[in-house]
Every structure is written in C-alpha cells, then in structure tokens.
Symmetry: C2
Subunit: 355 residues, 2 copies
DNA sequence: ATGAAAGCGCTAACAC
DNA sequence: GTGTTAGCGCTTTCAT
C-alpha cells in the first residue's frame, strides 16, 4: 500500500504486475523478447493485456542504466545542409529504426570544438555506437574511440590509421571515369579544382585525377585547391585556376558544390559551358540535372552508404566482433550537357585542324 | 571495500568522491550547476580536479532516470531529403546544443505507421519535448501530446485545433507576393499547382492564391492539386493544368519541387519558360537560383523557423508555461528569370494592345 | 556546508 | 516458470 497513491503519469512494471497479479520481474520478462520464452503463454497473455490496458511503455532510460545499452547511436556529420548527407541519414535512420535504435544527429560545421562538444553530449547519453562523417586523415576522435573499443564506423571520409571500418566510395575510380570521359571528348588541357587535402575525399579525388591524367600521358599540373567544399570556395578557386591556366578546356571539380561555384566564375568571365569550358562535378547531388547546363558528374550510392554503415555498426554492437571490414562502393559516371568537345579555338591551335 | 574490485570503464560519482575524500553527494552537487553554489570553493576545486583526473563524465541515463528529464528532444519531419528541412534542423540542433540538449531526428516519409513507431521509440527514451513538421490539419499525435501536457511545437505545418504552438510562414502573404508580381508583369490568366490540401501549407497557399487573384479581380479557377509535394507530382499536375487551361500565361506552384516538375512538363510540351509560360516556386530552396531559368520564388526564413521552434520548446520545457504563442514569419519575394511579361500572342488577344 | 539514505524503473543472477 | 533480491549511477530530501 506504499506507493499506490502516486498514480502519476508513468506506468511501471510494478503497476502492470499488480494489475496482472504477478511479480514485476515476470512483467519484465514478458516485455523483453529475449526472456519472453521463459513465461507461460497464459501468464504472458494476461500481462500483455494489462500492459496494453494501462498503456505501459518501457522506460529506456531505466533499462539502459541497468543493461548499459542505450539503443541510441550518435551520428556526426560536417554539414547537414549539404546535399550529400540527407539521403545517407535517411538510410541510416531507416536501418536503425528497424532494429529498435534511434539516432542522435549532430552537425559540426567542420569545427573541432563543436565536434568535441557534441561528442561529449553523446557520450554522456551512453550511446552504443557512433557513425562519423567528419574524420580527418589522422583523427583524434577516431583514435580515441577505437582504442576504447567503442563501436565506430566512418562514412564518406576515412582516416589513415585503419582504426575503424569505413564506408567510402572509390574516388580513384570516380575521377578516372571523369578524366576518361573528358579525354574521350578530345580534351587534353584539363584542370582540377581539388577539395581540402586533409580530407580523405579531397586527397583521393586529387590522386585519382593525377593518376588518370598520367594514364593518358597528360600533364596534371593545372590544379587549384579549394579551401572548402563550398560553392564560394569553388568560385574563387576557378578564377585562380583560369588566371594561371587560361588554356584549359575542361575542369574537373572535386564535388558538385565546387562545380556550381565554377559555373558562377565562368559566367563572371563571360565563358560559356560547355562551349568554352567543359565542367564536371562529383556526387550527383539532387538538382544538378536541372542546372544550366545540366552537370556531368559522378553518382555515388548515397543510400547504400547509409545502409552499409548502419548495418556494420549494428553488427559491431550486437556481436562485439572487431571486424575491420572496409566497404568500398563503386561510383558511376553520369553524362549530361556540361561536357562537350573542346572549344574550336583550342582545337585549332592544339591540333591545327578544324572540322 | 566492497565495490573497489570492479574498476570497470565507467567512472562514477563514487570514484570521484573517494579520490577527493568527500561524500559522493558532494560530487553530485559540484557537478550540477544548479547546486554548485552550496559547496565551498576549495572543496569544489578538489572535486573538480579529481573528476578531471579520473575522466569523470556524468551518466545522463542515470541522471535522467532520477530527475525525469532526459535532455533529449524528438524531431519528427516528413522528409529529411527535401531541401526545406536541413537548414531548419541545423538551426534546431544549434540552439539545443547550446542548452545541453540533443535531438533524436526521425523521418516519417509521411507514413502514419512510421510516425507512430518513431514516436514510440522517442517516448520510451523519455524525450522532454517534441518538434514536429508532420502535422496534418487534424492531427491525432498533436492532440495526444497536447492533452498530456507534453511540450510540443509544430513547424511549417500546423493543425487546426491550436492545441500547440507552431512556427509557420505567412503563406497567404507569400502567395500574395507571387500573384502581385505576376499581375504587375501583365499576367491575367494565372494557374496554380496546389499542394496536398490536408496539409496546412498546401491549403494556406491555395487560399493565398485565390484571395490574391480575387483582390485583383481575376478568375482563380485554373487550379490543379498535386497529390504530393514532389517533382513528379508537379510534372503530372502541370500537364493536367495545361491540358485543361491551355491559355494560362503563368503558373504559381505551391513549392519549388512542384515548380521543378513544371519545368520538366513545359519542356516536354515544347514550351519555353518564361517566354511561353512564367513559373514561380515557393521556399527558395538551395540551387533554384541555378536552374534554367533561375526560379522566381518566395524565400522563407528556414533558419529562423528552427531557431524559434527550439527556443519556444525549451521555454515550454524549462518554465512549464502553457503559452500557446504562435509565431508567424514573413516571406520574401525573390525575383529571378522564370517570370516575364506574358507571351505576345496572349497579350494581343487579351488586351488588344502591344508594347 | 556536507553526510546519510532513499529510490527513479528496470534487468538479471539466484532461489525455489 | 516465477518470485526474491540487488543494484545500474544519479539526485535530493533530511539530518547534522
């Protein structure tokens, strides 16, 4: 008769137990799929009915405190308002939800201080695992987590230490597809707007560019590094590139946002794409098919990245295996109208023929 | 000497207390900003130093179980991969993070079953409040939460009951801006691709269209309702609209995605925008300035929506006031190149004058 | 100003 | 198969 007065909003196992005339641990066993088989069918039914009637919902905080498993996972990404991430997040959330997990999603804006803060909040909430899209090439966060044996999966970017599995796209192949396509169109003087080199994506795509150019016996020195994967950085880098290398007939940008910036820069210089300069992007972001002109780019399996990352993380959490399997997904060339044969003037001077 | 053997990974208040030679409740008081003032400065310093040294981090699950406050809030939106939401989510997360809260973000794809499931997961985790962008005009979720007195804020869409505060944009004004602009350009036969009418946004924008047309003494019967706020639905609706009303010279779409679909439909019909038909969108989604042609649209303060929603929710949570203040934000017309004077042929027949 | 004690709601040995 | 018991780590009266 002690706690019956406090019929507050929360229905607990004890309330259900009283209603079903069983011990509260029996209720717990019924509610937990893992221990459900221990209970007689008739008793289980009675408990379930009472729970239903009282509107019982298990308190994940209490359960988590006891089991040391919160069924919450953390997701840290640099920019949620970049077109790259939403489809990935969507897929992650779908897989997690199917498995009774939820995601705490945080942005860092590539700011290490913010990253540290959100990570602290996540750890305080006893997250069971972490998916991060912010790994730098030698990432202290990655190292820290991996050393503590905490389940961690990197997406999109990877660090160099191999301390945790990652889901990435084969950017070497991706830039190869781009360069092959441009060369096939007849381009020889091809420039590259590179992404930040401390990010694996930026570095890998630059390397892919260089290797592919070398494969074709072409010079790969027309490279400008954009300080960030943004439209504005792309615009500035494009101007710099064209100032230094006015003769290039095609520009391979390290991602779509950079390519958008290049579109602006070209327009500002009175250059037409693809007549004067062919452009390519990377990621096949939503809407780039509607740009002027529609952007030739490389499609990466965003959804698949999310699915694989979530699956891999859940495997690590539930099985506690230290599998360091990396997943490398293949990109696909999407040809649109921002690429064409090199401009006539250059064709003339470079190959001394017309038509 | 009982529990000293289990030097497991987690450092607790007891560990810190032992190291600082105080009672563990003192540690708790030091760590909690609210009770910190009760402790002598020197003792506090000693505790803090010990905590630092041992790497103590408070366990939010345990604290939440005790205080019945999880410092987690739920965010439910229909589509994370719609360009509307990421900036809102970014702002929400920023405000929450500043206040020591984190967000569990879930997508529903407008599927009520999914909504129910994610909501159950959130409730199990004892979320302190909820921000939802999925409210239908008579929403059971909204009603349920409001009745239980749980802090809830609606964004973007609102229900009709006024059961909870909402942060919305003044869509009547927004469509008014659009219609005024088109009329000023000389359009009279203006069509409208409406959004789903069970959503407050769809309904409000249609009403805004009708009222504005009436204000100008124009017929507002060229309306087709798209079954969803998607590009494909926009494409189909645009075809239907033009089949039924071939003479319209301008189309006001209820959002940008619908306008994109219209772009496709116009292209399929061999019509040029804005020469044959002027187009307008709504939301000023990222990239619509780079479309062919750049889209005239209405900019809504996405970031502000997120900020206001998070602030309002935190107010409700911390002060437990039942303020039902609605926030209505003002939209802004963004004129680009998808709108122009009506096509010559129509000008001729409609107003019997040229130039 | 600090210590003592109780308990948030749950799970998981351990009994019987 | 079900009841008993003991915490998970924390906050918060109540003493002192």
């Amino acid at each position: 008769m002690k706690r019956s007065k406090r019929r507050s909003q929360h229905v607990t196992v004890r309330d259900v137990a009283r209603a079903a005339r069983v011990h509260f641990s029996t209720v717990s066993r019924v509610m937990n799929p893992h221990t459900r088989s221990q209970i007689t069918e008739s008793v289980a039914k009675r408990v379930l009915k009472a729970a239903e009637r009282l509107g019982y919902r298990t308190n994940a905080l209490a359960a988590g405190l006891r089991t040391r498993r919160s069924r919450v996972i953390g997701v840290i990404i640099p920019y949620i308002d970049s077109p790259l991430y939403p489809p990935i997040l969507l897929a992650i959330e779908e897989i997690l939800s199917e498995n009774g997990y939820v995601a705490i999603i945080s942005n860092t804006q590539n700011d290490p201080a913010r990253e540290e803060r959100v990570l602290a909040e996540m750890m305080a909430r006893q997250i069971d695992g972490l998916i991060i899209g912010t790994a730098t090439r030698h990432d202290p966060v990655v190292k820290g987590w991996a050393q503590r044996g905490a389940p961690l999966v990197m997406i999109n970017r990877t660090d160099q230490t191999g301390a945790a599995p990652s889901i990435i796209v084969d950017d070497l192949v991706g830039l190869g597809l781009i360069v092959d396509h441009l060369v096939e169109l007849g381009h020889k003087a091809i420039g590259h707007i590179a992404g930040p080199q401390q990010l694996s994506t930026g570095a890998a795509r630059s390397e892919g560019f260089r290797k592919a150019m070398a494969r074709h016996g072409l010079q790969a020195d027309a490279i400008t590094i954009a300080e960030d994967f943004t439209r504005e950085a792309g615009r500035r880098a494009c101007h710099a590139l064209l100032n230094q290398f006015p003769d290039i007939t095609a520009i391979a940008a390290a991602n779509d946002l950079l390519a958008l910036g290049c579109y602006e820069a070209l327009q500002e210089r009175g250059l037409s794409c693809p007549k004067d300069v062919s452009m390519t992007g990377y990621n096949d972001s939503v809407f780039v098919d509607l740009l002027r002109p529609p952007l030739t780019t490389v499609r990466i399996p965003q959804r698949e990245i999310g699915i694989q990352a979530a699956r891999l993380l859940l495997e690590k959490i539930e099985e506690r295996r230290a599998l360091a399997r990396d997943v490398v997904l293949r990109p696909q060339l999407i040809i649109r109208q921002s690429t064409a044969t090199p401009r006539a003037s250059v064709l003339l001077s470079n190959s001394s023929q017309r038509f």
